[in-house]
């Protein structure tokens, strides 16, 4: 892909960009302007970039989809099937635009929850100190674009020592063809707070569109957050997502991300353990087929002592699909007594399926425990034999083991209805007859 096309692509996207000064705070306009500056100095990444070695996004350059326009004719009954029983609070975004009619907020006494622009004055200084502070856009053109187009977005601010029992559902629904949407989420967990959010990307129909999302999560001391992320976009879509997480002293971040949809998807998850004794558990499952490409890049950065990170990423790849996992773990010189583990396990269901997995350990402290391992392969014959010896046919044994391979990650989702849904999805996608 030539650079001329690249530049054209970005400039084309930026045509629809404008500062809406009437509604915005100057700091926010400044942030957008900085982002737009960065966009104009960057190019679409190519496979020559180390970070994009395995993932060719050049098809994107032929699709300079403009920002989506708000769409108002969706009714509750069109999307009700996407709701989760457990979620009492639900923010719905249609093609990136907040829909108050379709959203349900019940906990606005206990916490701050809603669409970002509503809080620009009331929460102005807090927003200013968090928004755009974790997801760096200096060398990330997609984060820069998202920030340049930043308008609507999910804001959740959990006050000190407040525990929110029910999960919060952030539902991003794609309805339009040939548009780009820029979803944005910001979760601020104050000291000792606890919350579960489900970031859920779905499509109402098969359509070609681009989702460029950015999520920022900041956890103060001893805060807990469980972050479930489901990418089930249309299989013609492009999904480019960045999530940046900042963990303070003894805070705890648990993440389960599931990648099912999109023609090409890329998820960057950056977690910084900025203070002592922070903990994170990061699990991922990619389940793809046909000619899908799903790329997960994670970076877990231990900056201070006594941190813990455990990561398990699994891919099940069928047909001519291609999964990528790049898991970087950095242990900085001061991060003594870090305890970190990473496992990447991959199951290829067809000869044409492809997986690139790359653990990347950068350890600069000497007193650390760091275990990592990666496997790529087929099912274990001993496991198949065990099931056959219980009367299951070879096919049934293979199906059960393939299902189990994915279900192990699904089982860590602490929301029963969502877990059941996804178990069914895994079941449907792993059973050959």
């Amino acid at each position: 892909m030539s650079e001329i096309v690249n530049t054209d692509y970005l400039q084309c996207l930026l045509k629809s960009w404008s500062v809406k000064s009437a509604e915005s705070q100057s700091w926010l306009n400044q942030l957008r302007a900085q982002a737009i500056d960065r966009v104009s100095t960057q190019k679409l990444p190519t496979r020559r970039d180390e970070e994009w070695r395995f993932t060719d996004i050049s098809p994107l350059a032929r699709l300079p989809y403009q920002s989506s326009q708000p769409q108002y004719d969706l009714q509750l009954h069109d999307i009700e099937h996407l709701f989760l029983d457990e979620a009492k609070n639900r923010l719905v975004f249609i093609d990136g635009h907040y829909s108050p009619q379709l959203s349900t907020i019940t906990d606005d006494k206990a916490l701050v929850i809603g669409n970002l622009p509503e809080f620009l004055s009331a929460e102005g200084s807090i927003l200013q100190s968090h928004l755009g502070q974790y997801a760096q856009f200096d060398d990330n053109v997609f984060t820069a674009l998202n920030t340049a187009f930043l308008r609507d977005g999910a804001l959740i601010h959990v006050p000190k020592n407040i525990l929110i029992a029910e999960p919060i559902h952030l539902l991003f629904i794609a309805t339009q063809n040939e548009v780009t949407s820029y979803p944005r989420c910001l979760l601020i967990g104050e000291t000792g707070s606890q919350v579960t959010i489900i970031e859920d990307y779905v499509a109402l129909q098969q359509a070609a569109y681009i989702t460029n999302s950015v999520t920022e999560i900041s956890l103060a001391a001893s805060a807990h957050a469980s972050h479930i992320r489901i990418q089930r976009e249309s299989t013609q879509a492009f999904h480019l997502a960045n999530c940046a997480v900042s963990l303070a002293h003894a805070s705890n971040y648990q993440s389960v991300s599931i990648s099912l949809g999109s023609q090409i998807s890329r998820y960057n998850l950056d977690v910084r353990l900025t203070d002592e004794a922070a903990e994170c558990v990061i699990d991922g499952l990619t389940l793809i087929s046909d000619r899908q490409l799903a790329d997960t890049h994670t970076c877990i950065d231990h900056l201070k002592p006594n941190g813990t990170s455990h990561q398990q990423h699994k891919c099940i790849v069928d047909d001519a699909a291609h999964a990528v996992f790049n898991g970087k773990i950095i242990v900085r010189p001061h991060a003594q007594r870090t305890n970190s583990s990473q496992s990447s396990r991959n199951l290829l269901l067809s000869r044409a399926a492809q997986i690139d997995t790359k653990p990347q350990l950068e350890i600069f402290a000497d007193d650390v425990k760091c275990a990592h391992g990666a496997t790529v392969g087929q099912l274990d014959p001993e496991e198949i034999f065990y099931l056959e010896s219980r009367g299951l046919s070879e096919m049934a044994a293979r199906n059960l083991l393939t299902y189990a391979f994915g279900a192990e990650i699904i089982s860590r989702i602490p929301v029963t209805s969502l877990k059941r849904q996804l178990e069914q999805t895994v079941l449907n996608q792993t059973q050959s007859k």
Binding site: F385, Y386, E388, S389, R390, L392, L400, A404, A407, E408
Partner: protein, 264 residues
């Protein structure tokens, strides 16, 4: 128990098998009739597990000679799942863990598969739940066993009990228990032995594979076979196990004739 008039369940003649070109089983003869309990003893590496896995149909082993009749069928022609459905059961020395699948799901799947093949009634989750809980009492298993993933994070003893639970559910004609006693403390051993004794009856048979005599204090065998380098080198009654315990396996080498008298 030995009964001259009982039917033959398993008849193994001159069985030879190899793995990756190395011959492990070098001509095994064994006849098991209904109602009988057999023990196969022998040092580590003598081929006991290989024999068990060859009978269960593990595809890594190549049968290079001999024959095996199981309930009048040529066992060696059947794929492993059909052996299981025909009533052969192997309790594994090292049961496999299956994270992501609840034990109850797995147990019901195995149970219903075998039931369907036998033309019997399958059970829905609720019916099965009652049924399996009843069987679990036999092995003094806690109910949370059902919700946990198959064998994941189970202690050695829990895994072995889970194997015997599967045996209780599938009601095989012939059960082969491979080192079911290893890794069990004395209380767990008693529970497992009690379960096995309760499941043994005049219509089925059991082969206990072990290299310790200890288990045989609780499950009393009708026959004891000693295996060495891929052959059964000695067969006797339950007292042979005690003899081995006091004299050690070396003693076999100087007394390599079958101890007569108990052979049915």
């Amino acid at each position: 128990m030995i009964d001259k008039n009982s039917t033959t369940i398993l008849s193994v003649q001159g069985l030879r098998a190899s793995i990756n070109g190395t011959e492990i089983l070098k001509g095994i003869d064994l006849t098991v009739k209904s109602g009988e309990i057999h023990a196969i003893m022998g040092l580590n590496g003598s081929g006991k597990s290989t024999f068990a896995k060859v009978l269960a149909g593990h595809s890594a082993y190549e049968v290079t000679g001999g024959s095996v009749q199981f309930e009048g069928k040529n066992l060696l022609e059947l794929p492993p799942e059909e052996r299981a459905r025909a009533g052969l059961f192997l309790a594994f020395q090292y049961p496999i863990e299956i994270p992501g699948v609840a034990n109850t799901q797995f147990l019901r799947l195995a149970y219903n598969t075998v039931q369907a093949q036998r033309g019997k009634e399958e059970l829905d989750p609720l019916e099965f739940d009652d049924f399996v809980r009843e069987k679990m009492k036999l092995l003094e298993m806690k109910p949370d066993f059902l919700e946990r993933s198959v064998n994941e994070g189970f202690s050695g003893g829990e895994k072995k009990r889970n194997e015997i639970l599967q045996m209780a559910l599938l009601e095989p004609r012939l059960s082969i228990l491979d080192e079911t006693d290893s890794g069990l403390d004395i209380d767990a051993l008693k529970i497992v032995a009690n379960g096995v004794n309760q499941l043994a009856n005049k219509n089925n048979a059991t082969i206990l594979v072990t290299h310790y005599q200890r288990l045989l204090n609780y499950i009393v065998p009708d026959f004891v076979h000693v295996m060495q380098a891929g052959r059964i080198v000695m067969t006797g009654g339950k007292e042979l196990a005690l003899e081995l315990e006091t004299r050690g396996y070396d003693w076999i080498n100087t007394n390599k004739q079958s101890v007569a008298g108990v052979t049915a």
